[in-house]
Symmetry: C2
Subunit: 432 residues, 2 copies
């Protein structure tokens, strides 16, 4: 039922994919060592871009919101991985509270919460859903598109615990990315909080994540003896940017130019004839807001009012003052005329599935995860853990395995990032 | 494609299955605690019997030989569970040697080895297959029914390691149940050996396993507040039995009678109108040899020559002198006219699939795993980890979940059994 993707792969990436298949036992052995030293986040999704000459993560989400887009045939993988995660993080947990995003009127998002609810219940947890949206004052039965309902109840704080009537959970699972900051109701809880508060967008910085990814990609590239660039986009971060003021963005233009020059050099090295571009995005926050594609530094010097407004504010009205400039990665995967971008889902350190974001109205150098953009999700038709080293890299199961490997590199970067910010956060609490 | 099973369930079992569904979070929480205290075997399969009033394990195999019978859709679960097992038992392992049974001419068994080989490779191990059969003196390419081949090489011992040419494995996976005793080539290795030697049938005793199961079933029944009998068959073991001698088996008859009397009492308590029976089997060994079904103690007093011969010797010509007498559990699952018995597969402590042994020529009170009996394997069409507590227990996914729970109880018994024999075995090495 699911159409195959037509990709025209060649050059360095095909080499990388061949190396990945040939080095499976080296890679998995290395991964086992990494997961012994670093605790994987409870769950995550990673947006990848595949340009045929480069396969790289462009965003790592620690509050994944598309479990409903995964192939239902592979939900058992999610259940098994959940069991493993719970065992490692909070084995004593029996009751679990899911805290969804505040905008629970979104039908697609509600389906995600329903799927997550099902996975956690099937893993043997007693699960209820509680909203921290102050506007939710009474239980609401939200209608799902399949005709069933989802009960969302207002969370109450009692002492250092979040509770619902007759329900005192041992663990709280955040599916709310805390873009607006950490609300008081979540502070100083004595319950397990998954993921920890510092994984929220009010404290996370994309550039910190990609600094960790830079390290991880370097280690991995040395392991396989490949050029780290084929899995790692150039980037830089810039502080004190004021889009609203309407001043010339000279420093931003310089940063953009710097990345373009470095990328152009690499394109030349590999004989790639496409035009390099960069993506400018808010360093904190998600949801594809505050993002622009730029092919020339001059484009950012004088931004018009519309562009400035689009960049100045992200989700929950947070003002942007720090941006990340990242080498753009073309997505050359497509289905008929539509552009597609893979999103890989992980629970514990296992790849549990994924889907393609398919867009008919966007170019191959544009961000596909933007507000109001109704992409069509196309579930991966095979699991990401069934490579066939005897077959060629283009075989679907092998491509998905490579996606899973690169996604796990981003997951490992997130694990190290959370470890790092955990310390900072504790210091902040002591000194702040 | 797979026909549904027609089962007529009622009475205590339906109650048990309802209790299991209602207590999912209690059960999984309890299991997490158990797996924290006990190391699950690398892999295992458990034969269950479902009589509608009783759901119980009748055999726990620590060298499962039917991976080829599992639903290929759920192989990703096997791969993920393998990753987990390797991580816990031997995270440093990169190369793994599979040691299959010596009778590798059996096409069905070869398919099992091929499937296992694939699962381990997909979990990222570098895997080769080595035979310890002294008759295998050169590498053999064994033809598989799907047209591919499997290379089996003669294992060499170098110092305290098993090797193949250019292959020095970190771990050795036994898929050979060591019925004939522990060969010298496997003793005192400094490689990881999965499962450990004492899991082999030359040291294991069914009655020891079922003593542990007795304990586990008791704890579980207290947890759920149910009668342990609905998951636990009565049994007793008897030493010094000499079938070959042709003497009257008075002591055996007494043991049989004792079990029949206790079973009859339970049948009466639950209003069950079937005729109780017992299964007599060799206390060591597998493969359905040395097994008989008995409805009355008088049947065993004077055994005829054919019966004596059938009971006297098991696999690899081992003489039987110790037997286990176990309450027989009817199997009332059937497809059309054929009797079916579920076999549940586990890796690490995860249920990864299962199949039914379907027999057209056997009764519901007979053993379905006997030599020369070509049962038809019928793969479970759903995973065992996707229960729907809102639906009735008869729903396929819920029945499979209950199977998975009872199979894991037997797995837990095996884990405790191996812990116990580990000590005995070490003492034996010290004193012997």
């Amino acid at each position: 039922m699911v159409p195959h993707l037509t990709t025209a792969l060649s050059g360095p990436l095909l080499t990388l994919e061949r190396y990945i298949l040939d080095s499976m036992s080296t890679i998995e052995h290395w991964m086992r060592g990494q997961w012994r030293d670093h605790e994987a986040p409870f769950y995550a999704s990673v947006d990848l871009r595949n340009s045929g000459f480069k396969l790289a993560p462009v965003d790592t989400n620690l509050f994944p919101g598309g479990f409903n887009n995964l192939n239902p045939d592979f939900l058992p993988l999610c259940i098994q991985a959940t069991t493993s995660a719970i065992e490692k993080i909070c084995p004593d947990a029996q009751k679990l509270l899911i805290i969804p995003e505040n905008h629970t009127r979104n039908t697609f998002y509600l389906q995600n919460v329903a799927t997550l609810h099902l996975i956690l219940r099937q893993a043997g947890l007693n699960v209820r859903i509680g909203s921290i949206n102050p506007e939710v004052k009474a239980p609401i039965q939200m209608a799902l598109s399949n005709g069933s309902h989802l009960l969302i109840e207002p969370v109450q704080r009692v002492g250092r615990r979040l509770v619902l009537p007759d329900f005192d959970p041992c663990a709280v699972l955040l599916n709310n990315d805390l873009s607006a900051g950490i609300p008081d109701i979540l502070k100083d809880l004595d319950q397990w909080l998954l993921p920890p508060l510092q994984a929220g967008w009010s404290l996370r910085r994309k550039s910190v994540h990609f600094s960790h990814y830079d390290e991880v990609a370097g280690e991995f590239a040395r392991l396989l003896d490949v050029d780290p660039w084929v899995i790692n986009p150039y980037f830089n971060a810039l502080d004190g940017v004021d889009f609203a003021a309407g001043k010339d963005q000279v420093e931003l233009a310089e940063t953009v130019n710097d990345i373009l020059v470095k990328t152009r050099k690499k394109y030349k090295e590999y004989g790639i004839e496409n035009r390099p571009f960069v993506i400018i995005k808010a360093d904190a926050g998600t949801y594809g807001m505050g993002i622009m594609s730029v092919h020339d530094a001059s484009e950012v010097v004088h931004l018009n009012r519309k562009q400035r407004n689009r960049m100045a504010v992200v989700k929950e009205g947070m003002k942007v003052s720090r941006v990340m400039v990242q080498e753009g990665v073309y997505t050359f995967e497509n289905i008929n005329e539509a552009v597609a971008e893979p999103v890989v889902y992980m629970m514990d350190h296992y790849v549990v599935g994924g889907f393609y974001r398919v867009h008919t109205s966007r170019g191959d150098d544009e961000n596909l995860n933007a507000p109001g953009m109704h992409f069509v999700p196309l579930a991966f038709e095979a699991a990401c853990c069934t490579p066939d080293p005897a077959a060629c890299p283009e075989v679907l199961a092998n491509r998905f395995y490579a996606y899973g490997v690169v996604a796990r590199l981003a997951l490992l970067a997130a694990a190290r990032e959370i470890e790092g910010t955990r310390l900072d956060f504790q210091e902040m609490q002591v000194t702040g």
